[in-house]
């Protein structure tokens, strides 16, 4: 791949063209996978003898949670590239990821609560995973709010990027703190909330959903970051030809 490819797509017009062409493929493929996965998970996969039909929620909970975390990693990575290479394109990508990531985190938390309530009688508990996910939401909201509060574009980009990078370092520390706290309490809730081992016929819709969500995510980011790039470059020549 090499740096040359990065430089080539790093320029706004190339990025815009690449992303505009990429989007439909990701969108339709992603939607297809999500449809197949949902149908498979909701209707086809057999009922769990322990949990009945409630486990089907994980087909929506797990992809959202997984995506919320990888989106944040992507946002942090884009922020680093933005600061190091002073790339407007990278900052646009980071800015586009934030609202989608926040939305995914919220859905992960909500579906988690909807799963927890009937399953274990409690919608929430302060164990490491749930706490970290909640903190992740705060991190996203901090980024979005900071970016929106600073009027000047470049300053907003770089300040928010600093916060994103700080968040990446911070999240494992938080996770570890809560794990440590809980092991001291010997909370039985940890084992209670462990995902059951999932096997065979119940597994394939989950994988399909995760991959489908990923492609959908790429499609949304394509559209949002292309809009952002256009907005930033609105005075330049290549934009006039669109």
């Amino acid at each position: 791949m090499g740096l040359k490819a990065i430089y080539k797509y790093g320029s706004p017009p190339n990025f815009y063209r690449f992303v505009t062409r990429l989007e439909p493929w990701c969108l339709y493929f992603g939607l297809l996978l999500i449809l197949i996965g949902s149908a498979g998970g909701l209707f086809l996969s057999p009922e769990d003898y322990q949990m009945g039909d409630a486990f089907r929620i994980i087909y929506f909970h797990v992809p959202s949670a997984y995506l919320s975390m990888s989106a944040y990693a992507a946002m942090g990575f884009a922020s680093i590239i933005g600061i190091v290479w002073r790339s407007n394109v990278a900052f646009s990508v980071a800015k586009s990821i934030a609202p989608f990531g926040a939305l995914m985190t919220t859905i992960a938390l909500l579906t988690g609560m909807l799963w927890g309530k009937p399953m274990w009688g409690t919608a929430w508990v302060w164990d490491a995973r749930l706490t970290s996910e909640f903190i992740l939401l705060l991190l996203y909201l901090g980024y979005i709010t900071l970016h929106a509060s600073i009027r000047e574009q470049k300053k907003a980009d770089r300040s928010a990027s600093l916060v994103a990078i700080l968040g990446i370092i911070n999240l494992p520390i938080i996770h570890y703190s809560v794990v440590w706290w809980n092991t001291l309490h010997q909370a039985s809730t940890i084992s209670k909330l462990d995902s059951p081992s999932i096997v065979g016929e119940m597994l394939w819709p989950l994988l399909v959903m995760i991959i489908g969500y990923m492609f959908f995510f790429v499609a949304v980011i394509c559209r949002a970051s292309s809009a952002e790039v256009l907005k930033r470059e609105k005075r330049s020549n290549w934009v006039k030809e669109i």
Binding site: L42, R56, F60, I107, V220, I221, R223, E228, K231, K234
Partner: protein, 49 residues
Amino acid sequence: MSIFDMGEYNFYVWTSVFISFLALFLAYYDALRKHKDVVEMIKNRNQSE
């Protein structure tokens, strides 16, 4: 029994499905609208020049 019936967990499962799909739809729709707005704005600028 209809395959749409999730037993006692009916409410929870279908609510999760609903909000998940809603979120996905909103995310894409938001991105789409942002894009449309920017393109509109640029077209107006081009016309007024």
